[in-house]
């Protein structure tokens, strides 16, 4: 992992690429459970700190002039390592984001078109990119970041936003018990769930009574046993561990192909040993 770190301190998605927020956060989190190289971590943190935008959020990579979903990932970093002020501004940015379907204009449009009702817009989640609809992944990551921030009781309304965000996820449980990237039903057809999003949603639903998650927990274990991607399996293991379940993977050996899935693998193995950094 250290070999793939760029000279500017950040990590790229792939060897030779520019530094990006997501692989940098995951590499830093993974390093904190492995044998830590202080110098490498400090350089990574310096890159992250310098990449924060004026509005408090982070862009996926420096070439992008827009704060996006990766802000939730950065806000998962320990507050002290990121800096108290930087962390607080990141949380403020997250608190200001909702899916476009939750806007008054969208709801009014739906009324005019006679398309009211359903789960869309009922509970507020988070979008990947400002101005778009809310989806499972950014909502789950934002809930996790807010749950960590809640310990410092910074902004008012965090607890309420977490509850509503979790309801957003509960509204989107697929018929098979897991989570797709968004709605459970499109044009009247049930959507299949994915390992990545199922694991992320279960992580974000940490603390929800098991009685409300019976079907998802069974579905997630079944997905883990037949999972075809290392990244998917890692998210499932992290999500299931949040509910006290240690999930075994498939018989076949899965390939770790880049920084993000390698880091997630390290974090998942740490969770199986009892240390889930997404919940610390």
């Amino acid at each position: 992992m250290k070999n793939l770190q760029n000279r500017d301190g950040g990590w790229p998605y792939r060897k030779g690429g520019g530094s990006s927020a997501e692989p940098t956060v995951l590499a830093l989190l993974a390093q904190s459970v492995e044998q830590a190289d202080r110098e490498s971590i400090e350089r990574g943190l310096a890159w992250l700190r310098a990449a924060q935008r004026q509005d408090g959020g982070w862009a996926p990579q420096p070439q992008v002039s827009q704060s996006t979903w990766v802000t939730a990932l950065v806000a998962l970093m320990p507050r002290d390592s990121l800096g108290v002020s930087r962390h607080a501004r990141a949380i403020d940015w997250l608190m200001g984001q909702t899916g476009r379907e939750a806007s008054l204009a969208y709801k009014l449009r739906n009324e005019l078109l006679g398309e009211g009702g359903g789960v869309i817009g009922k509970h507020e989640g988070w979008p990947f990119f400002p101005g778009a609809a809310a989806w499972v992944t950014p909502s789950a990551l934002s809930i996790l970041a807010l749950a960590k921030a809640q310990r410092y009781q910074m902004a008012g309304g965090i607890a309420q936003r977490i509850v509503v965000g979790q309801q957003f996820l509960m509204d989107r449980i697929c018929q098979d018990g897991g989570w797709n990237y968004g709605r459970a039903n499109v044009l009247g057809v049930e959507a299949d769930s994915y390992p990545e999003t199922t694991g992320q949603a279960l992580l974000a639903l940490h603390g929800v009574p098991p009685s409300k998650l019976e079907k998802p927990l069974v579905a997630a274990q079944a997905q883990a046993s037949r999972c075809q991607s290392a990244e998917g399996l890692s998210w499932l293991q992290l999500g299931l561990q949040a509910h006290g379940i240690a999930a075994a993977g498939p018989v076949r050996v899965l390939a770790y192909r880049h920084i993000a899935d390698t880091s997630l693998g390290i974090l998942a193995r740490a969770a199986l040993r009892g240390r889930n950094l997404f919940l610390e």
Binding site: F129, T137, G182, L187, A255
Partner: protein, 318 residues
């Protein structure tokens, strides 16, 4: 059946008419595009077939950088959802044989983050030697901001992957499929996979809000150096692009003009190309006319087969 017009349809038609008015102002005379239809199967002969296709269209790629963009969508060990790996490999070898300096394969799936695992499950690693070294995940590529000149969509600029932007020739290699949002997904819609997920997410929902059809046209315009080969050997009908049924057609459809290629595919699918909104926006009805497209190889009637359509798209039947 209710033939009354809904408020949604009224809004949609108004927007479409406005766009078409603009399109007809923009489109001038252009040489008649040529589109090849060849019979093919997923077997060794596909290598010769694709090479002949490339020669037929006189693509000069000597010393050039070619990027092949297949359609990888979901884990599917069969051949229905994703572009078949033999079509991708045959195209790669074809361009190499024609003297391309570099040929890469690149894709950025719209729903799944785990692109390499999708490719593995689809047989790409097994079929294409050194696939991992040749492949770029466009969702995770470095990006540049591109200003859209006179866009159809509500976007004024878009972040696009440097691998695609730096290509001398971008080759769209989609699967021939029906699509529940736009009617049919072919070579033009395949360019949605150029939009980086790391920036816009999974799915690339910003494009939906900006207008799916309009974004397809804007992406098409943003990459003018392109070529298309549509994998219609085993296509998909019904509730595409993921939950549809296999539809064996046994053809590859290719050409330099993606709108003409897609219009030809629509006719093969017994879909009226003029009812596919993004095709109309891109080139207008005149250029979608069968008489204005030079067909090479098989004729449309010899390979035409009606694709099953979901209820919402019954009105696009040819």
């Amino acid at each position: 059946m209710n033939h009354g017009i809904t408020r949604r349809e009224l809004l949609s038609i108004s927007a479409g008419n406005l766009a078409l008015t603009r399109c007809s102002r923009m489109s001038g005379r252009r040489p008649q595009p040529r589109v090849s239809i060849v019979r093919a199967g997923y077997n060794q002969s596909i290598y010769d077939t694709v090479r002949r296709l490339l020669v037929e269209h006189r693509l000069d790629v000597r010393g050039r950088r070619v990027v092949i963009k297949p359609n990888l969508v979901e884990f599917d060990p069969g051949t229905t959802i994703n572009t078949h790996p033999m079509v991708v490999h045959a195209t790669l070898e074809g361009f190499r044989a024609m003297g391309a300096a570099e040929v890469r394969i690149a894709e950025g799936p719209g729903h799944r983050r785990v692109t390499m695992d999708l490719a593995d499950a689809a047989g790409y690693f097994e079929t294409i030697p050194h696939f991992e070294d040749l492949f770029i995940d466009l969702n995770l590529d470095d990006v540049s901001q591109v200003l859209l000149r006179d866009p159809f969509s509500r976007l004024h600029s878009i972040y696009l992957p440097n691998t695609a932007l730096s290509a001398d020739l971008l080759v769209s290699l989609p699967k021939m499929k029906t699509h529940h949002w736009v009617g049919a997904t072919l070579s033009m819609k395949n360019f949605f996979g150029l939009v980086p997920g790391s920036v816009y997410g999974w799915p690339k929902n910003v494009l939906h809000w900006a207008g799916i059809d309009e974004c397809i046209v804007d992406l098409h315009a943003a990459f003018p150096r392109h070529f298309a080969i549509v994998d219609g050997i085993v296509a998909m009908e019904g509730n595409g692009p993921i939950q549809g049924r296999p539809k064996p057609v046994g053809v590859l459809v290719a050409g330099k003009d993606m709108a003409a290629v897609d219009a030809t595919c629509c006719r093969i699918m017994k879909i009226n190309p003029a009812s596919i909104r993004y095709l109309l926006l891109a080139v207008g009805p005149h250029q979608l006319d069968e008489a204005n497209i030079g067909q090479i190889g098989e004729t449309i009637p010899r390979v035409q087969t009606p694709f099953g359509l979901i209820e919402e798209w019954q009105n696009i039947r040819l």
